[in-house]
């Protein structure tokens, strides 16, 4: 699969945070998320969206992220935090 661009990754992190798959970014480390956390969040998003769970920001995943949707998160904050722990 083609490597996602920096723009795709930024879009992906924003999207995953907005809809509850990643906890809000740490004010100390800024936007930095570990690769493992990001991959887990992508997998959760893919499973929820009915996509093949790869943990990679592939084309179908980016496509689904661009699909019009409801503003409310899919997972609650506590669920995202619990996954992190």
């Amino acid at each position: 699969a083609p490597t996602p661009t920096a723009e795709d990754i930024n879009l992906g992190v924003d999207w995953l945070t907005k809809f509850g798959y990643l906890p809000p970014s740490d004010p100390v480390s800024g936007q930095l998320q570990t690769q493992e956390e990001l991959s887990k969040a992508i997998k959760a998003m893919q499973e929820f969206g009915g996509l093949k769970s790869t943990g990679i920001l592939d084309e179908p995943t980016l496509e689904l992220m661009k699909t019009p949707r409801c503003s409310l998160p899919d997972l609650s904050q506590s669920e995202a935090t619990r996954r992190k722990r």
Partner: protein, 443 residues
């Protein structure tokens, strides 16, 4: 997703549209009627009652807002986030429902870029009464917009959604958990226009084919949705097999880059490797990224190792990640990853038991099965077998294009009508669906 413990303690809820869309083709009366029917979807099956009020104290305040509107959920223009609602509770915002005023809100429209207001409203009111998002592809509470859900007056919630809302509020006394909703008298409800206000834009065109009485040039599953192509037009069905519009869309208005003098297509499929969409016409093919043609096309179909003369049908089979091409009584198996035809092909179509030669087209569907189309009929092949399931062919118009047997006049043979009757009969008699047993306890 976990169900929150928020629900309304009261059963009578008031609603009000505080602001209407500013530049929408939908008039105020249509918007009001759509909100009424979207709430009615939920009140028809639960003990909740919704009544419209004036003033600022409505439980469910409805707004069409733009950008940041001071609730922590800014809208982002067309596409992206389209609406949201607040869960039940004691806050003054609880139950409030906001729609992005910058979306192109539609109703009974063939505009494929439009956002069906009724479908979105049913979803948002689900939140307003306590439902969270779930991943179920069939659910109205799936977070992604999946297109129109059909006629507001006939809309019936997916069974899983009914069960989730019954878990919160119980079943309405007049409702049997397995019965169809009663048909209510039209005079009791707001008038819902047959057509949007700008009627002139969707008058049937003279060359528009009759979807109930035609065979299709090509059929394809694209991004999980079904596309039926005929002449210069196509119909689109959502993942849940809801027809997006009774009016077909024009191929050239949506698939940008096909020659304007092209009056039909032979076959279409979505490539499994990169999700690009491939159109075939005669000896040439075009590759689309989304709905725009890629540079360098058309190219000859000999690129695939196919002989000149065109193809009848093409589909990608998830079972083995191979692409199949059909022409007359032969078929080929192509490896899209290796970009080459598998050895030993073409092969006689007789290997596909029960499938007729000279197909119109074929497609894989989200149930994992393959559907073959020819004339006014279709055949189903299940479980990676290469054999037609018993009971086929069936009517394409009736089963896919929302036509009655009388409308389609096609293979509506006595046997197929009997088949449809028995299927419905079976469903009506059942006390459970999708593995759920439902107990009604309303007191």
């Amino acid at each position: 997703s976990v169900q929150p413990l928020t629900k309304w303690a009261k059963r009578n809820l008031s609603w009000r549209i505080r602001t209407y869309p500013k530049e929408s083709a939908l008039g105020h009366d249509t918007v009001r009627a759509l909100m009424y029917y979207a709430l009615k979807v939920w009140s028809d099956i639960t003990p909740l009652n919704f009544h419209e009020v004036a003033g600022n104290n409505a439980d469910i305040q409805i707004d069409f807002s733009r950008a940041d509107h001071n609730d922590g959920y800014p809208f982002d223009g067309p596409g992206g986030t389209v609406a949201h609602a607040f869960f039940p509770g004691d806050l003054h915002t609880s139950g409030d429902t906001h729609f992005d005023d910058e979306e192109s809100w539609t109703f009974r429209s063939s505009d494929v870029h439009g956002m069906d207001l009724f479908a979105v409203a049913v979803h948002e009111f689900g939140h307003a009464i306590g439902l969270t998002h779930i991943s179920d592809m069939e659910s109205i509470m799936r977070p992604y917009y999946q297109g129109p859900v059909g006629d507001p007056l006939k809309y019936d919630l997916p069974y899983d959604d009914k069960v989730r809302i019954w878990q919160l509020y119980g079943v309405r006394e007049s409702v049997s958990p397995t019965a169809k909703p009663e048909v209510s008298r039209a005079e009791d409800h707001p008038f819902l226009p047959d057509l949007p206000e700008n009627r002139s834009t969707i008058q049937p065109r003279k060359d528009e084919p009759d979807r109930c009485n035609t065979h299709f040039d090509a059929v394809a599953q694209i991004r999980g949705e079904a596309f039926f192509f005929k002449g210069k037009y196509f119909w689109r069905l959502t993942r849940n097999k809801h027809l997006v519009s009774l009016q077909p869309a024009q191929i050239h208005r949506f698939w940008r880059g096909l020659p304007l003098n092209m009056d039909s297509v032979d076959a279409v499929y979505e490539r499994a490797t990169d999700h690009k969409i491939v159109f075939f016409k005669g000896d040439r093919y075009w590759v689309f990224k989304d709905n725009n043609v890629e540079e360098g096309y058309p190219r000859p179909i000999t690129d695939f190792g196919l002989p000149l003369g065109g193809v009848d049908a093409a589909f990608s089979w998830p079972h083995n990640d191979k692409t199949y091409f059909f022409k007359n009584n032969l078929y080929w198996r192509y490896d899209d990853q290796e970009h080459r035809m598998d050895e030993g092909y073409p092969v006689e179509m007789t290997l596909w038991k029960g499938i007729p030669a000279m197909l119109d087209d074929a497609m894989g569907w989200s149930d994992g099965e393959i559907y073959f189309f020819k004339g006014k009929e279709y055949w189903k092949v299940v479980d990676s077998s290469m054999e037609v399931e018993q009971g086929y062919p069936q009517s394409t118009a009736r089963d896919w294009l929302v036509c009655s047997d009388m409308q389609s006049d096609g293979p509506g043979s006595e046997s197929s009508r009997t088949g449809a009757r028995s299927r419905h009969g079976q469903q009506d008699e059942s006390r459970s669906e999708n593995g759920y047993e439902v107990c009604s306890c309303t007191s």
